[in-house]
Symmetry: C2
Subunit: 407 residues, 2 copies
């Protein structure tokens, strides 16, 4: 008998029928003798419907009130799921974030969880009830309703699992686990049985958007075993934990990629302290998130400074750089929004040389020119022309033996 | 400068445009220097949508969870109205029932308000904010979400007005006040400038469904001046207060009626103690509400016992009586579901004889046979055949001079 926290996303609870299916799934775990806490999102489409409603009133809705509004989405789901559980003879109780004291800071629409009071939940579990909690929401110390931002239901689930010291936090999604790469790009992509928190972080941030990144960080920090599995098909999914012996064999766990990158380079920047912040300061102030940052040693007393942003922010970033260039006395700005990033991810590469050269060689054999390179302890990322995305990912998937199941 | 509590119903906030119109109305009061607390219902159609959703999961939804579900309706409106107010430069804050501590008992779906903590509202008013509160909802002492039942937003508004000792509680509806009778039946029906709480109670319970009855009782109990007015047309509406000198002139304030009545009579009941409860006990147990109850002195040692119920409950009541009749040794059961009730209402009739005879004579002149009569201090009700409803109401409206404005 274990204590399990399960999280079902918007698609999994998108209709009355699906909510009933989730109830049946939950009851099965309960019947097997486990204590179950369920965290749910708003029914799919509901959050967008509410945001559209807000925007029909106010172009930029007051953040405090937007949170009051969208928090209703999850509240609807917890009530419906509790009814569905009751209907099949599984006693349940629903709670909003506020009701189980999910205390957050006061940053509306992207609040962070500070504390959870597990008393009420434990009392219900002790009475044999399933506890159904609204994901994505909490309240600040003044009792104002807050939300954790899109995808925050994953974070709610992990935070609850941490507070309750749950044995496992199961995230039910519309995919049946974490794959070596996107199966739509490489048909030979395989589901991983296990992956480490660090690898998952690299995979998620690089575009394999299975889990919200913050929930993975949170799970890693509190060592909550996290399992990604499908709401719709049976299967063990992918377990995300800390590295263990079993996992050492695999050099590379997967290949992530990101189609939405654009790169900007400030050429001939005077090579002295403070330059980087003078370039990225205004970018940050404009709320533009920067992904890769690369600066090579300059050949003379100038250097070239490159970074990548989401394509949606490309035009805005370019406009800012035009101004920054003059202020810095840089030579020029060059840019390209037809690029993609491909990354090898694997904790195994830490102790193995030769990964990088295998990677570059495989790409070269296919005539793919590498535009940028950036590495961390457990990943190597390259930027290539957009048109090479599929070829590049397939080539690397095969070059690192990911097409075959590990022995 | 006064403290005003305003309540806007579902139709008044039924769309983004209407919410904006309400915001403009509220701002006008604010700009005139008044403190304004606004109570809102769910957008029209929303509560039914949520209930349908619940019923698609569970035929009889768990009451606690149904309250969690439907409470989201008002939460959506408070957020949207606060945005609309902010948008036109009128600072506002929304609160759920729970957030302003509208403490209720634990009877889900028809909870009663026990207490309201006005601290948070007063603090916001002091800062120049409009306070927007979700009607219809509260929470019990364990923090469970409760609702007050359909139409409960009126009660919320009155309870808030009482707690805040507001100068006036304004109920905005889709009618522009309380009328002498239904204008659809009598085109000469007039809007009343004033009416007493007691008269309003009789009018409301008798079918002029402008205000929820409980809210009128509440307003009377705490002496909160209540004003019914239109969300859509300008006008002073109808003020509901205690009787004052001005009002003594009018004998009759209005004529109410009820189309949905059915009557049942147990004939030849042995005339001894406990008979009435033996008849009405099983009716009450079947959750059938009884309206009029009439028992006349018997001619011999038996009597006839008559009561009226809603037509929806007619068949069920008849079935129960068939059984009760045999148990009591009564002679027979007679019944009629083609009857209506017409009532004269007015505090003035207390001190004036002759009202009843004028009424009966006016009806007799039109050939309308009176089937039953029942009176209270401020009303006289008669039951007549369904076909006479319109004629009866028109006749009385004219007989008591309601067609003309009072001098």
């Amino acid at each position: 008998m274990a204590l399990i926290v399960q999280k079902y996303g918007g698609t999994s609870v998108g209709s009355a029928e699906r909510i009933k299916a989730v109830a049946a799934k939950v009851k099965k775990w309960r019947d097997d003798g486990h204590d179950v806490v369920v965290v749910v999102s708003a029914m799919s489409g509901e959050t967008n419907r509410l945001i559209d409603l807000a925007k029909s009133i106010q172009a930029t809705p007051v953040p405090r009130e937007l949170d009051v509004l969208v928090a209703t989405g999850e509240q609807v789901t917890i009530a419906l799921l509790s009814m569905a559980l009751d209907e099949i003879g599984c006693p349940a109780r629903s709670y909003t974030g506020h009701q189980v004291h999910i205390l957050t800071d006061s940053v509306h629409s992207k609040a962070r969880i500070l504390e959870i009071d597990d008393q009420r939940i434990r009392a219900d579990l002790a009475k044999g009830r399933v506890v159904v909690v609204a994901g994505f929401q909490g309240s600040d110390q003044d009792g104002n309703i807050t939300t954790l931002g899109r995808g925050g239901s994953d974070t709610s689930a992990v935070a609850l699992a941490a507070a309750l010291k749950a044995d496992e936090c199961q995230i039910y999604t519309d995919v049946d686990g974490v794959y070596t790469t996107d199966p739509r790009v490489v048909s030979a992509a395989r589901r991983l049985d296990r992956i480490t928190f660090e690898e998952m972080l690299e995979m998620a941030s690089l575009g394999s958007k299975v889990l919200q990144i913050r929930s993975v960080e949170f799970a890693g920090k509190y060592n909550v075993p996290l399992r990604v599995l499908s709401s719709f098909v049976e299967g063990a999914g992918t377990l995300i934990t800390y590295e263990d012996e079993e996992m050492e064999d695999a050099l590379i766990s997967g290949i992530a990629f990101n189609r939405d990158e654009a790169k900007l380079t400030v050429l001939g920047v005077p090579d002295h302290p403070g330059v980087a912040s003078k370039i990225l300061g205004p970018i940050g102030k404009a709320n533009i998130e920067v992904d890769m940052i690369i600066q090579n040693t300059g050949a003379d007393d100038t250097t070239d400074f490159t970074f990548t942003v989401h394509r949606n922010d490309y035009a805005a970033a370019l406009k800012i750089l035009a101004k920054v260039k003059d202020e810095l006395g840089a030579r020029a700005v060059s840019s390209d929004d037809k690029i993609v990033k491909i990354s090898l991810v694997g904790v195994g590469m830490r102790s193995h040389a030769g990964i990088a050269s295998t990677m570059f060689e495989a790409l070269a054999n296919e005539g793919i020119n590498i535009r940028m390179i950036s590495t961390s302890e457990i990943k190597i990322s390259v930027v290539v022309d957009e048109k090479y995305l599929e070829l590049g990912v397939r080539t690397l998937h095969s070059a690192f033996g990911l097409d075959q199941a590990p022995n």
